[in-house]
């Protein structure tokens, strides 16, 4: 163990000699992948910061928060990028995040007040999207238009487990915010439509593409991937009236040793250089529409009036109740 610590010391010393400050950003796996936004963001930020931007990936959004709680105040992270608004209250409650002190006007629907206003004091958004059921236009020309219609139909779906994935949790809150006290009944009615429940998004989407179900829980932007990257116009999402949102955010770690760089990164996050790579790498809507607009064929977002979101502070209690209803409805 001693020589491991020694090796770490040597590495730290080397970087001190080089005098290039390191900004460590914790994020999720698909962000740092070669085909994700990470490489382009790193290149653009390093051009102007005189620093070394290092991404560290840890699973998905929920895993990020778990990782940070494990490390506590000792964490190496300066910025955490990739939590969503279902996690922000729990994240802020850890006391590990600093307030950003910024008042940006963003292009993210705000179901709770003035359009464009961003009120969260700890976290800033970088992209967002709507959850939706995606289907094949040819195989399912007339998809159901609501959870009730879906439940009455014999359309089969694949969903993700809310205990292990953020989309699964999103669906849970979607049904809960639409149907309130009746959410349990809706789940009971949906039970025979659910082919299976997967641990994460990848498995579910894979099953759907293999033809195991008519629809899969994903995002309204998923068909854009097929249109743009695969020139395949065959996929669409089913409009369900109001759609639950996922807003992805980043925050500055309170104990950071690079507070100025961290602030600089958060500012950079809402500039064109960052935002313009989001649509076709992360396949979500950018939080600030780039000057050039959204890519052709990407499709514009739904009317903001249809956006649905549980207030960050109520998610914790809502999740517990909704998870119990989900479990008892589907365990019968």
């Amino acid at each position: 163990m001693r020589h491991l610590a020694f090796a770490a010391g040597v590495l730290a010393a080397t970087s001190a000699v080089a005098e290039t400050p390191i900004l460590t950003v914790y994020t999720y796996d698909s962000f740092v992948a070669d085909w994700g936004p990470g490489p382009a963001v790193e290149k653009a930020f390093e051009e102007g910061c005189g620093c070394d931007l290092q991404f560290v990936s840890a699973g998905d959004g929920a895993a990020l928060l778990a990782r940070l709680k494990l490390e506590g105040a000792r964490t190496q992270a300066d910025v955490v990028l990739g939590l969503d608004t279902n996690l922000t209250a729990a994240a802020a409650a850890t006391g590990l995040f600093a307030e950003h002190g910024k008042t940006p006007v963003v292009d993210v629907p705000n179901p709770f007040g003035e359009a464009g206003a961003w009120t969260d004091t700890h976290f800033l958004p970088y992209d967002w999207g709507y959850f939706a059921f995606v289907h094949d236009k040819e195989k399912l020309p007339n998809p159901p238009k609501s959870f009730e219609e879906l439940a009455k139909s014999d359309v089969s779906i694949v969903i993700q487990d809310p205990r292990s994935s953020t989309p699964g949790l999103g669906l849970l809150l979607w049904v809960k915010t639409v149907h309130g006290d009746k959410a349990g009944e809706v789940w009971s009615a949906l039970a025979d439509n659910i082919v299976t429940v997967t641990p994460g998004w990848s498995e579910a989407y894979g099953l759907f593409l293999e033809g195991e179900a008519d629809m899969v829980l994903s995002y309204t932007t998923s068909p854009a991937y097929h249109r743009i990257a695969e020139s395949d116009d065959g996929k669409a999402f089913a409009p369900f009236g109001r759609h639950y949102m996922q807003i992805e955010v980043a925050g500055k770690v309170a104990g950071t040793d690079q507070p100025e760089l961290a602030d600089k990164f958060l500012d950079f996050m809402l500039t064109d250089a960052f935002q313009s790579v989001i649509p076709t790498t992360n396949w979500m809507y950018p939080a600030m529409t780039p000057e050039a607009g959204l890519p052709e064929k990407f499709g514009s977002p739904l009317d903001p009036a249809l956006a649905l979101l549980a207030p960050a502070g109520e998610v914790g209690a809502l999740r517990k109740q909704a998870l119990d209803e989900w479990l008892s409805a589907l365990s019968k």
Partner: protein, 511 residues
């Protein structure tokens, strides 16, 4: 006196290995406990989960070994073209990453798979693979090959002289089964079933993907939820204890049921099975082999087909990741074999610890311990290799221990009288006779490490992704075809690694 000193030396090595394994598994568990907030109410809340976990693991183990016995028997007494290749290929499902295997199974048994298309042609109702039957089907797919190989080793360990004697006495196949094969099965089958039972206890992705919903919740998912969603370390630690106790119970039952076979020493001749050289038995073996090969190889074929289509889309980083995974696999294999050799003679039970404790708990515990001392990114690869070794160790010990005991029982006194102790005994007596099993164990360890998604995700060094992790990243970015291509590369590398080790162990040996 010298003899005694040497024996103490051997015992010390076993003890060191046992302590090493115990420290690597139990200390992280302790670390998780230490950070725990609450440990109340776990069992009452999760009773349904525990019941389902045990039930599916029991069914999976039972069906796997019941099917493995005729397959191993047919493989043991038939010589045919491509037999060696078939035995290697039969090992493939066990070493596949879950998601790759599930895709293969779905292509055959899924809603739009081969079986349902055939049923559709005949106007029959489609079958559904989801639910308990899907979970058990997948577990049998994974574990039938393992059970077959373990039992096949037992058949090959029966000296050919016994079968020759049986033929001289004019025994029927039934009589041979009763007098020669039954004692071997009694000593081997409980252990094989135990390993599979424990393996299925910690099933997570299979149970979730094919289980159909929360009815099919396993303890491992509850552990996952405790870590990721609730960050309730106490509950995670308690659930791991439940898993440990269940696995320990299974091990105790298996050890109580297993009786030593005691065939005496043979001369290692090629086994000719006189009693099985008649038409009906030949046809029966043929049917069994074709059915098993179809069940195991058809999904593999579908993985290869979809993988070839995606091979052109695989980005270069996948090949870099393949090199990283290869390196980890080799280090992990060396560690597994070393520990297994030390534990196979004494302290066998310690070798099973890695199987009983969730990798999630070991990874998190190791993280809790290492993080204050060193940046986890710096040790991501060594930690991954070590945890992979712990996960493979139970199989290696299970394969080596009975052989080692048999060698000691049959040649131990001869070696004693010749004064062969320590390294000399290892080199001249044990290693040569253990070579086949050693190759098999090393091949398994290497291939398992290749396919493991593992703790590297927790320690996450972004520039050093393993192949399975890179495959998941591709899937997460909608690139399912490229992911299928990466899956095929993974399958091929795992098989080649397995083949090299397994073959290496059988050079110059007719079997």
């Amino acid at each position: 006196m010298a003899e005694r000193a040497v024996q103490i030396g051997q015992r010390a090595i076993s003890w060191v290995a046992a302590c090493f394994v115990a420290a690597l598994t139990l200390v992280p568990l302790g670390a998780v406990f230490w950070s725990a907030d609450s440990i109340a109410g776990v069992l009452t809340r999760d009773w349904g989960t525990v019941r389902f976990t045990v039930f599916q693991a029991f069914l999976s183990a039972l069906i796997s070994v019941l099917l493995a016995v005729p397959v191993a028997k047919a493989l043991a007494r038939r010589r045919f073209f491509g037999r060696k290749l078939l035995i290697t290929l039969l090992g493939a499902p066990f070493i596949l990453p879950v998601i790759v295997a599930v895709v293969g199974l779905l292509a055959v048994f899924g809603r739009s798979g081969i079986v349902n298309q055939l049923l559709g042609v005949f106007g029959a109702e489609p079958i559904s693979i989801y639910g308990l039957k899907g979970v058990v089907l997948a577990h049998v797919f994974f574990n039938l090959p393992l059970a077959t190989r373990m039992i096949l080793q037992g058949w090959q360990a029966i000296p050919g002289e016994r079968f020759r004697l049986a033929a001289t006495l004019g025994m029927t196949p039934w009589q041979v089964s009763r007098t020669l094969e039954w004692p071997m099965l009694r000593s081997l089958v409980p252990g094989a079933a135990m390993v599979i039972f424990v393996l299925c206890l910690s099933s997570f992705a299979v149970a979730l993907t094919l289980g159909g919903g929360p009815r099919a919740t396993t303890i491992e998912l509850a552990i996952y939820q405790s870590f990721r969603l609730d960050f309730d370390l106490g509950r995670a630690a308690m659930l791991s204890m439940v898993q440990l106790v269940l696995a320990g119970g299974a091990a105790a039952v298996a050890l109580a049921l297993a009786a030593p076979a005691g065939f005496g020493a043979g001369l290692d001749r090629v086994v000719r099975r006189f009693e099985a050289e008649r038409g009906a038995v030949r046809v029966l073996d043929g049917v069994v082999l074709v059915a098993a090969a179809g069940f195991l190889l058809l999904p593999l074929g579908m993985i290869v087909l979809s993988g070839i289509a995606g091979l052109g889309r695989v980005p270069d980083v996948v090949y870099e990741a393949a090199l990283v995974s290869l390196g980890i696999a080799l280090v992990s294999t060396a560690l597994t074999v070393g520990l297994a050799l030390a534990l196979a003679r004494q302290g066998e039970v310690w070798g099973y610890l890695g199987l009983a404790i969730s990798p999630m708990v070991i990874g998190t515990g190791a993280f809790l311990i290492l993080n204050p001392v060193i940046d986890p990114r710096l040790v991501a690869l060594p930690v991954t290799a070590t945890v992979n070794a712990l996960m493979a160790l139970p199989f290696a010990v299970r394969i080596l221990a009975p052989e080692m005991r048999a060698i000691e029982a049959e040649y131990g006194r001869l070696a004693d009288s010749l004064g062969l102790f320590g390294w000399a005994r290892m080199r001249w007596l044990i290693l040569p006779r253990l070579r086949k099993s050693l190759g098999f164990a090393a091949g398994l360890a290497a291939a398992l490490s290749m396919g493991d998604l593992g703790v590297v995700a927790l320690f996450a060094a972004p520039d050093w992704a393993t192949l399975p992790l890179q495959m998941y990243r591709l899937m997460g970015a909608y690139q399912m075809q490229a992911a299928a291509g990466a899956g095929l590369i993974l399958l091929c590398l795992s098989l080649v690694l397995f083949w090299i080790f397994d073959r290496g162990g059988r050079v110059d040996v007719d079997a």
